[in-house]
């Protein structure tokens, strides 16, 4: 027996027949990891609102996913998503966007949503560059890399996103690369189920822009790089800083339970309503 279409296509809009990404782009692998997580959890797309910003990664849910999708302005998806979650607390609200979107122009929203512990699941696709606009240096670009905006190599240090968001107060934080799609799916499932701010950093290949800048070129060569240079967090904790230079630490940083903002608001509203009812009776 052979099937006529990919079974995960039941979660995508019928009229969208292809993905928007370049050949070999890791964004599609992340997209599949998200849909597999939802499928394995047995959730309904109607229970989700997907919010994205601007960039190649922001095209993952919109227009592809057959769900409510909100494609917002550059850097602002977490701000929109916070509003959606507070207004519709029963929805699973997932933000999907890029490293430039969520850590450069949108960096403050990211750390403050983690600090406030709003119940969002953020899948941050980190390809180390501004892919969509032609390969400019991002806050995630490795030091020394030559890009079109750093012709002598970038002199800046890059953000280490997962531990930064962990330090900001998130309830769940993980990082995997597109060489680890199964682990990524598992962490996305945990992120969706977590009552609190959850970040899954998905280190991904941009063969076109990053491939050109790094001279790694093809998708397969970048995946080989991920394979050879990923170190699990438990192993990394026992390693010296020099040995970790150029390595990608993967795994789960945080998985905790703590007071969550939507819940606190709901509770406060209930309490105030009760109090005002009491006053009316007097």
């Amino acid at each position: 027996m052979s099937v006529s279409e990919h079974p995960l296509r039941k979660y995508t809009r019928r009229h969208i027949t292809r993905t928007t990404t370049c050949p070999g782009c890791g964004i599609g692998t992340v997209s599949q990891a998200i849909l597999r997580a939802i499928d394995e959890l047995g959730l309904d797309m109607d229970d989700f609102v997907f919010v994205s910003g601007i960039g190649c990664s922001a095209w993952i849910p919109s227009p592809f996913y057959a769900a409510d999708t909100l494609h917002t302005t550059h850097g602002r998806p977490i701000a929109f998503a916070t509003g959606v979650k507070l207004g519709l607390p029963d929805k699973n609200v997932m933000v999907v966007s890029g490293d430039g979107d969520l850590t450069a122009i949108g960096g403050n929203h990211l750390i403050h949503a983690a600090r406030r512990n709003v119940d969002l699941t953020v899948v941050l696709v980190n390809n180390g560059i501004y892919g969509m606009t032609g390969g400019q240096t991002a806050p995630t670009t490795p030091r020394g890399l030559t890009t079109i905006t750093s012709p002598y190599g970038t002199m800046e240090h890059h953000f280490d996103i997962a531990p930064m968001v962990a330090a900001a107060g998130a309830s769940f934080v993980a990082r995997w690369t597109t060489y680890h799609p199964r682990q990524m799916t598992r962490s996305i499932k945990k992120g969706i189920q977590k009552k609190g701010f959850a970040l899954i950093e998905a280190v991904s290949q941009c063969p076109v822009q990053y491939g050109k800048a790094s001279k790694l070129g093809s998708a397969v060569r970048i995946l080989e790089y991920f394979k050879e240079n990923s170190v699990r967090i438990d192993k990394a904790r026992a390693m010296e800083a020099e040995a970790l230079a150029g390595k990608i630490i993967v795994g789960e940083w945080v998985d905790i339970a703590k007071a969550e903002l939507t819940q606190e608001w709901t509770e406060l509203r209930r309490k105030l309503r009760e109090e005002s009812e009491c006053h009316k009776l007097i």
Partner: protein
Amino acid sequence: MSKVNIFRQSCKGVDDCGICKFVCPQDLFQACQEMNAAGYFPPEIKDESQCTGCRNCMVYCPDFAIWVEKTDDQPAEEDEDKNAG
């Protein structure tokens, strides 16, 4: 034996992408000779009887172009942590 379904029209080409070929432990993928409607050469399977049903090609393909159906007597999907670095 597993059935490896390739949705030719979704694929963006073994030459430009080729991720399925890279992650197949049995090295079963090769570019076919026939272009799809978008101008790419999707893969074909050299010998399906050699497929272990590991589903790597399916979970890594960025374009939803592969689905592997497994038979009951096959081992479970590849260990999650095997590639974890």
